[in-house]
Amino acid sequence: MSAQLVDLSNVKPYGDTLDDGMVQFSFTLPVPYGEEAREAARRLVLKMGMEEPNVVNAMDLGIGYTYFIVYAKCPHSINYNAIKVPKVESDHMTKEEVEEFIEHQVKRDVVILGACTGSDAHTVGIDAIMNMKGFHGHYGLERYKGVEAYNLGSQVENEELVAKAIEMKADALLISQVVTQKDVHVKNLTHLIELLEAEQLRDQLIVVCGGPRISHELAKELGYDAGFSSGSYAEDVASFVVQEMVQRNLV
């Protein structure tokens, strides 16, 4: 099972053996628990284009809903070699390098505001980036020398954030959006950009968004300077912000 055996132009899901195509599904159907429910789940997975679906668990959720776990074989494959995903293009710097960069190139403190905006109350993302203790052994922005980091917390209204940005003379805004059902994050994120445009501040600020459903490509459409998905650390965000400030002559 060494890596050389994998044909990257023809990648399939891996279960127990290479290319067996095994996939696990878990989902809920609004149907009462029973044999018909299991059959419904099986047929649905077949319809998705899977082969040999096997309902390994069905659970009664009450009020006519049933939860399933289904195993099935995926007949499709992906050409991994042909994939190109735009990523944030800045030289990755460590915390110390960012601090040095600020000292020598920016030559003043960088003011960064972070917030979970709109109805979102899930601060894990913004806390991991902003808070002193950081996350996974990567210190947060509050600990950076030369960075004035303010974490405004959760459910911050865009209006309030913009007013704060003006008051604090912010250089960068970090917006975290974790809960994103029915694409509410999209409306909320564009609303902030439109407000900044209306206040004629868009050009003077680095505006960055992050969250599990945010990609760098989506950031472009939303009108942000960068998008960070899960797995990004404070130094990734800081590297981008300080380099972008210099590139855009905002120092």
């Binding site: 735009p86 472009k220 459409e221 972008e244």
Partner: protein, 351 residues
């Protein structure tokens, strides 16, 4: 009748904005492109978001591509250029930076599909539009992104096309209500104060340059700048500074529901003068609130009027539902009388 013919000769830059993502902006754009080609016009094209990608990054739905023909000028990023199959010549590189690369201005040499992603900020769009006009484009189309509307500001583009569709809401009457609200905002009247009418640009520009967040036109005919940097979160403060006899409240930047509510909470004088804002894209007030504010006596005038050319309607939603085409169009036309409403999914003649 063609959509292209609804654009007056004097209008050089046109934004296409949508009520929501997948409201039919790209379909509208494609139709304009093909019509412009038949009429022999050289068109420039750019986007504040991204266009011509085959799959939507938000919903994963299939999207129409954008086809360009020789003679067109396109502003897109180097990353998108590499993904396009049209053959293009680089006319100019720019300093506009986006998450998808730097913006370049290209001339189409051979017909093909392109992915378009222009500058993300309005200032950037303005700069790129100007360059495209200088480089030979007769008109420039600026496609919007998602539900972003700020590219419709007269500071960015001279005229606007509004795209709406079933995707906005499952309920037809809500789609019509919200679309009519947006169209109405884009057609708000200018400020008819005699002093302002005499020298509209200089009076306002001078005041805007001073950088105050709000100002009051006093009885004596002088604009007094208020000591605030933005009207955001300052509605009460502004309201307390109004005096009997004032003839206009000038607001720089955005006008939000909260600002209006705060203003109304401290004074009744708002009933006696218009709120004067830069243009309609600065208004962040929903349909329902607007109706309430209007009933309470709020009037809003614009320093610079927007110019809405027409509304396009798409009766299909990628969410899976569709409206009856005739009913949808009739309902929209009933509420929007001042500009044409066009079914963009219909044949060219169907108005």
């Amino acid at each position: 009748m063609k959509l292209w013919e609804l654009i007056p000769d004097t209008v050089k830059t046109i934004s296409v904005i949508g009520m929501a993502k997948n409201a039919g902006k790209t379909v509208t754009l494609n139709r304009l492109l093909s019509e412009s080609q038949k009429s022999g016009n050289w068109v420039g094209l750019t986007s504040i978001g991204r266009d011509g990608e085959l799959e939507d990054v938000v919903t994963g739905t299939e999207k129409p591509g954008v086809e360009v023909v020789p003679g067109m000028i396109v502003a897109t990023t180097d990353v998108c250029m590499a993904r396009s199959d049209a053959r293009m010549e680089i006319l100019e590189t720019t300093n506009e930076r986006t998450p998808m690369g730097n913006v370049v201005i290209l001339k189409v040499r051979q017909k093909g599909m392109v992915e378009i992603a222009g500058p993300d900020s309005n200032r950037g769009i303005q700069r790129v539009c100007l360059r495209m006009l200088t480089l030979g484009a007769e008109k420039v189309l600026v496609d919007g992104a998602l539900d972003r509307k700020s590219s419709a500001s007269p500071a960015v583009t001279e005229a606007t096309i509004l795209s709406t569709g079933a995707v906005v809401d499952r309920d037809l009457s809500n789609v019509v209500k919200e679309t009519a609200h947006q169209a109405m905002l884009l057609e708000l009247p200018g400020w008819n104060h005699p002093l302002f009418q005499k020298r509209p640009d200089t009076t306002m520009d001078q005041w805007l340059q001073q950088g105050s967040g709000a100002g009051i036109m006093r009885k004596e005919g002088q604009v007094e700048s208020l000591p605030i940097t933005t009207a955001l979160s300052s509605g009460k403060e502004i309201g307390r500074l109004l005096k009997k006899g004032d003839t206009g409240l000038l607001i720089r930047g955005s006008l939000t529901e909260k600002t209006v509510k705060d203003l109304m909470a401290v004074t009744d004088l708002y009933r006696e003068l218009p709120l004067v804002i830069e243009d309609a894209t600065r208004i962040f007030i929903g349909e329902r609130e607007w109706r309430i504010f209007r009933k309470m006596g709020l009037r809003v005038n614009l320093m610079k009027r927007n110019r809405l050319l027409f509304v396009t309607a798409n009766p299909w939603s990628p969410g899976g539902w569709r409206f009856d085409e005739m009913r949808f169009l009739e309902a929209l036309k009933h509420e929007i009388k001042s500009v044409p409403v066009v079914n963009v999914m219909g044949k060219e003649e169907s108005f």
